[in-house]
């Protein structure tokens, strides 16, 4: 299965890339997606996570074709 991973704002700059694609043997958690996509970098405490453009928590299951995004606290408005 393949998973699209996106990073935004300061996180994108720190990691040096805005998106990547993972291939995995089967369903995994959002936390596992982070680890695999960042070479096991430590996850910042305030990071926000979205699965298919909806907020989720780190233990949510990710399936084939899903899009997972990680980003810092939002500052719009």
């Amino acid at each position: 299965m393949t998973i699209e991973v996106k990073f935004f704002a300061s996180l994108r700059e720190q990691l040096g890339r805005g998106e990547t694609r993972l291939t995995a043997a089967g369903p995994m958690s959002v936390a596992e997606v982070w680890s695999q996509a960042t070479d096991n970098a430590e996850m910042p405490a305030n990071v926000l996570m979205a699965l298919n453009m909806e907020y989720v928590t780190a233990d949510t299951t990710v399936n084939d074709g899903d899009e997972v995004a990680f980003f810092p606290p939002v500052t719009g408005g």
Binding site: A9, A50, F71, V74, G76
Partner: protein, 145 residues
Amino acid sequence: MHSEIREQPFEPYAELLKYQQAMHAAGRYGATAVFVGSMREFNEDETVTAMELEHYPGMTEKYLHNLGEQAAARWDLINSLILHRVGRVKPDDAIVLVAVWSTHRKDAFEASRYLMEELKSRAPFWKKEQTSEGQRWVENNTAGY
């Protein structure tokens, strides 16, 4: 209930009037509550000359759409409008416009504030400021309550 991302500067009150006329609800609403967030030329004691507003294309639109629907489910609204700027923003530019039309003022006041607080705390936008000291990501929004 309408929301939109704008990549170019917009004049909030002209947009509001245009939308209001297209609503064809004249004489039905008694209350309109509007909020405009504009770019200030200073922040935390530093002069800000420009700002880059990044967003998560797709999720922002989805988030703002759902937010409008949530407000309409919770209050008695005739209509609502959310416009949000992205891209390169200059001081005095409008960043966000929220407008709510209702029969009575309670609904418009409460819904407009709700929309802004939710948008500020959850909509996937990020500001990077250009100051005399260089660029910096804004780390947190100021509290609304």
